[in-house]
Symmetry: C2
């Protein structure tokens, strides 16, 4: 059998994705599997077991990134494929696992069909892609491409003061391999689109040309607590009212500036008492745009609003930038290989950009990389009813398999 | 010495208010003394000790209200004076203690000057006036006037699931006396104004004619969590954006409707993750007005906004009314007695309404009652830098003393 005619095993792939969803399963059908928790450990253990059963050599680096290595004829060349297994607090079963388990399925299909690649193939599970428990997100892939930053990432703390280093040791995934030891000639990641476009246009595969720029900031608004019944409106220094007005302004920005998204996802209020005007509000802004320039415009307009709006006139504001990742353009030859694979397989495809951050975008800063998107039902993700069908996942994994074969030439 | 010429001991009174402030003291100078906590127990213990040292008979009712009883010549008549010792989470040293310790000072002054009243005098400390740890606020005075509701109040739970009954037993203040056993012929409470009017107008004493109506509601807004980077604005069901718009609308209401106040004091967001559109927001509205009709208008306009604004078009809303207390008019003869006392003492005074809820307003539903206000620096209260000067407190306590003597005639 010629290599280009082999296909992945869809039943096995989907069954494994369902099996993985038991770890951190929510009653509503989704998953809560924050990075480096006992649920994440259980998911990692199963993934490692599958790799070992397949005969892959397992290597774990200092930040817990886990690699299953299938040696090629030419060990100087290396193709990386994979994604992540962690989730957001009310996440779905597909964001991450499709890419990680899909990569494993590609390796297994090659082995079962006795196809030995020229390149070494590496199946990867990256640590803390979601960035919910520890800042920054995409920490594992960042460590891979910036080994000099790893010590800082290991010191990052969660809300309880636990560091990444402590959490890695607690679950047994503090590896000995130095970050960056594995050098990819190419990296490819399958991922659900997490948006509505492919489904709306009835397209099988999104060929991802790049990823939008992302900016995260934490704002601390400090006003003055005061009695809710006796303090006239004119005398209030109400930190929550200021945030409310900022939230409404941010929504207007999304209509005014092309491709702009702003989300206020976390809010904490002090003293958080019914009859006390809020003294302090800590909130985060997640801002994204395909264009670095448009994103900068949005950031500046938020700054101007805070500097001039009456609601902020008695509020002091501290801004901390948590993440600032420029827009990324993926590698042309990897994009071409995905495109040719879609043609070869007879799947419909669409060039598109990613709205979300991904490990591939970080790895792309050092290695030629690109991504394969599959449709998301109703465009839903980071939610318990995230869904892609077994057929959609099968097509994504077959494109990855053919892309690997193309890149191996 | 004639009774009308006696005066309270200002040094002792202010020293005791400062001594009380050690319990739950915050580094910033304020107090965190939530009801029925170890800090509240310590405050209650000291207050009880002072009453016992003075020879008052101490009685504690089922809900922890604590009374120091000074028998009069005619035990069929009874004047109640007092307030509360609990605070909000970032509270001051004066809201409550001025009234409770001021009442004790009046009793001590009468005893030291060998003035025996016709009426029995009762010095009271009411449980859970602030309503921060347990709903409803003014729980102790509510239990006093509605003994049939006490069993329900005892079942109220804090955030950790501890009931009022458990908390009372834990600190040793679950009394044996039935609520409502003590029947007042009159009740008078000194309190800080908690607003800026007396200070701005340079007036010594506010003669409180009544208390504004209070309405508390808890809103649960349910949208849908979604990925912050891939979900187009048109497809979002963002529960926090809806709350933001409601917050801005509520502020407009405060300008549109006479004497209207609205405060959004507590907010909790789920899943509270940076890169997830908020699925659920729970927030409270504290709404107050001097006029029951205007308050109802504000409540209706909030309902209409939720029913019609585009931000709520994909958000389901659950409303729970927590507190709904109509405006209260105080008793004319008690108000007159306070007014005559101010004249007698040569203090300037102003008829006014209270913006806050008080135990006296609850007791007024059953007994003739009124209140004495003293100035609050900068109108600040429910904040750590709440302040009234020793001279201002002295005048308030002297007015209370003379008012008791008037009511005793």
């Amino acid at each position: 059998m010629k290599a280009e005619s082999i296909r992945i095993n869809s039943k096995r792939l989907s069954a494994r994705i369902q099996e993985m969803a038991q770890f951190g399963a929510l009653p509503s059908g989704g998953v809560k599997r924050l990075t480096l928790t006992p649920e994440d450990k259980a998911a990692r253990d199963l993934f490692k077991q599958w790799m070992q059963e397949l005969g892959l050599e397992v290597a774990i680096d200092e930040i817990g990134n886990t690699f299953g290595i299938l040696k090629g004829k030419n060990t100087d060349r290396c193709i990386g494929i994979g994604s992540h297994l962690d989730s957001v607090p009310t996440g779905g079963r597909f964001d991450g696992p499709v890419g990680a388990i899909g990569a494993l399925e590609v390796a297994q299909t090659l082995i079962e069909n006795d196809v030995q690649l020229n390149s070494t193939l590496v199946v990867a599970n990256y640590t803390n892609e979601e960035g919910v428990r520890f800042f920054p997100d995409m920490m594992g892939s960042l460590g891979h491409v910036n080994p000099e930053e790893v010590d800082n990432y290991l010191k990052a703390k969660d809300k309880n003061g636990t560091t990444v280093d402590d959490a890695l040791k607690a679950i047994g995934y503090k590896g000995k391999m130095k970050c960056g030891t594995i050098h990819y000639n190419h990296f490819v990641e399958i991922h659900i689109e997490q948006g509505p476009i492919l489904e709306e246009k009835k397209i099988d595969i999104g060929i991802v040309q790049g990823v939008q720029a992302i900016h995260w900031q934490k704002l601390t608004l400090i006003g003055k607590s005061a009695h809710a019944g006796t303090t006239p409106i004119y005398a209030r220094k109400d930190a929550f009212y200021a945030l409310s007005k900022l939230s409404c302004f941010a929504r207007e920005l999304c209509h005014d500036i092309k491709d702009q998204l702003v989300t206020i996802g976390t809010i904490e209020v002090k003293p958080n008492a019914i009859n006390v005007v809020p003294e302090e509000v800590v909130a985060t802004l997640d801002m994204r745009n395909l264009s670095d320039a448009n994103l900068q415009l949005a950031i500046t307009r938020i700054e101007d609003f805070i500097a001039t709006d009456e609601s902020f006139s008695h509020i002091s504001v501290n801004k901390e930038v948590l993440v600032n990742v420029p827009a990324v353009a993926f590698n042309g030859s990897v994009v071409d290989a995905i495109s040719k694979s879609c043609q070869h397989l007879g799947y419909s495809s669409l060039p598109m950009h990613s709205g979300a951050g991904h490990d591939a975008q970080i790895l792309a800063t050092r290695y030629p990389a690109a991504m394969i998107f599959i449709p998301s039902k109703d465009g839903v993700s980071h939610a318990v009813d995230e869904y892609s069908s077994p057929e959609q996942i099968e097509k994504g994994a077959n494109v990855l398999l053919q892309t690997v074969l193309h890149l191996d030439q």
